[in-house]
């Protein structure tokens, strides 16, 4: 690992771009096949067990065919998609994390500095966002972006994998402490569901901000890598 991150030549590293587009496919498929799986049993519980409405903390709606993979209710086929793309997603995340540690992306762009957490800075960032001013004053990401991206990369995405493992009886037998840590299998299932919708919320905001900040350039840069902004 380099002691001091080198200044990158491109706005987005090749590994970041590959991971981004692989995720467009894998996360979409995981989410939509997940909605089909959810239709198999629509109640969510806390703790280790639960099977009836009186144990549930939430009963989610039945998701329509146009939003699920496959387009009709089939728990078996939906699980097939989920099980295949779980590998694509997990190995992709691992690949990205290793590369981002090596090329300094995490340290340079994603980790927040203590000073950034000062209320004045946070408020300033919120106000600038509301004004749709996305100038970053020399750094790649502003505070809110760092928090959102770090939250997804270091909390939500790993939680999806760990809660998924706890729901798998074969995996849980191998790492039983993970089940205890996450509060039991049904808690893991609830967290898995909540995180899926946090990812959907992230996706909606992400798309909205791309559309507001020059979508053609943004998409082009995520394909070709783009150039570093002059002042950076």
């Amino acid at each position: 690992m380099a002691s001091k991150p080198k200044k990158p030549r491109k706005k987005h590293a090749l590994s970041t771009r590959i991971w981004h587009w692989v995720n467009v496919v894998s996360v979409t498929i995981l989410f939509m096949s997940g909605l089909n799986i959810s239709n198999g049993h629509r109640r969510l519980y806390w703790g280790d067990w639960g099977f009836a409405s009186e144990h549930a903390w939430l009963e989610v709606p039945r998701f329509p065919g146009w939003a699920t993979i496959p387009g009709h209710y089939s728990l078996a086929t939906a699980r097939d998609w989920h099980v295949i793309f779980a590998w694509v997603f997990a190995l992709g995340l691992l690949f990205f994390m290793v590369r981002a540690l090596m090329n300094g992306h995490f340290r340079r762009d994603l980790f927040t500095k203590l000073a950034e957490w000062r209320p004045k800075n946070v408020w300033h960032d919120i106000v600038e966002h509301l004004k749709f001013n996305f100038e970053h004053e020399g750094v790649k990401f502003n505070f809110l972006q760092k928090v959102a991206y770090s939250g997804v990369i270091f909390v939500v995405l790993p939680l999806m994998i760990f809660t998924g493992m706890v729901m798998s009886p074969g995996a849980e037998a191998a790492v039983p402490w993970l089940g205890d840590l996450l509060g039991g299998r049904q808690s893991a299932r609830s967290i898995h569901f909540i995180c899926a919708f946090l990812l959907l919320a992230f996706f909606v905001v992400h798309i909205a901000l791309v559309l507001l900040s020059g979508p053609i350039k943004q998409v082009r840069d995520m394909i070709t890598g783009g150039k570093i902004d002059e002042e950076a």
Binding site: D48, T68, P70, G170, A173
Partner: protein, 247 residues
């Protein structure tokens, strides 16, 4: 409204594409490969030790143990046997064994017993916790003597669901797993009919549909290809559920 229509159309197109892929042969072999990878890594994660499903305390037992699939066996013979306390029920051990066995309930109860409080996870998503008692399948198989070439244990059942006999299977690793038990008790009482009386397999590192109820026989085989639909289980044959249900 227009944007929503666009999203629905986009979703539907994507879904239609995925549906076409779902039916392809390549997709089927990918599923199998992914399943084998999961099974391999689940066992490898134990780094040399036998991975064990979590066991719980009596305080964790759920107030009721939900039944799913067949909730009874719809035959006069079964009802007569139930009325008689299953005194005539027998478990056969056949196939690639040195000595085929036919065990009575008394013989099964006389074997060394294992009691375990485990969680039952249905493929649909719900879970229930119960205390199971019965001999380990490994001790029964050792009595029969496993022949070389036996690769799978096939579990035969008395129930017929939607016109097909229920059955299941697992590899020898799971068949000899310490928590793989032929249970005749649930929560200290004789197994209720809805949970598979008088005998039910417990295969704790896999989902509920693998835990065959109304067990009548265990058959050791070299291949699953010629058994029923060839996919290793009732739900696997009927609806395409994964044979390795550790996921």
């Amino acid at each position: 409204m227009k944007r929503r229509n666009f999203l629905v159309a986009l979703g539907a197109t994507f879904v239609a594409g995925c549906d076409a892929i779902s039916d392809s042969k390549i997709f089927g072999s990918l599923v199998e490969t992914a399943g084998n990878w999961h099974r391999g890594i689940h066992r490898a994660l134990g780094v040399g030790r036998i991975t064990m499903a979590p066991e719980f305390t009596r305080a964790d037992i759920s107030p009721f143990f939900r039944g799913n699939g067949s909730l009874e066996v719809d035959s006069d013979a079964y009802r007569a046997s139930a009325a008689n306390g299953f005194a005539d029920w027998r478990l056969s051990i056949t196939g690639l064994v040195d000595n085929e066995l036919s065990l009575s309930m008394d013989e099964i109860r006389a074997l060394p017993q294992r009691t375990q409080i485990t969680r039952h996870d249905c493929v649909e998503g719900w879970s229930a916790i119960g205390e199971w008692t019965g001999p380990q399948l490994s001790s029964i198989l050792e009595m029969a003597g496993v022949q070389e070439g036996a690769r799978f244990a096939v579990f035969r059942c008395a129930d017929n669901l939607n016109g097909a006999d229920y059955y299941e299977s697992c590899d020898m690793d799971d068949a000899f797993h310490p928590q793989t038990v032929v249970a005749h008790q649930l929560n200290g009482e004789a197994l209720p009919v809805l949970n598979g009386a008088p005998l039910r397999l417990r295969l704790e590192r896999q989902l509920g549909y693998k835990h065959a109820k109304y067990l009548t026989g265990v058959e050791l085989v070299a291949s699953l290809d010629d058994i029923e639909g060839g996919r290793g289980g009732y739900w696997e044959d009927r609806a395409g559920y994964q044979w390795y249900a550790g996921i």
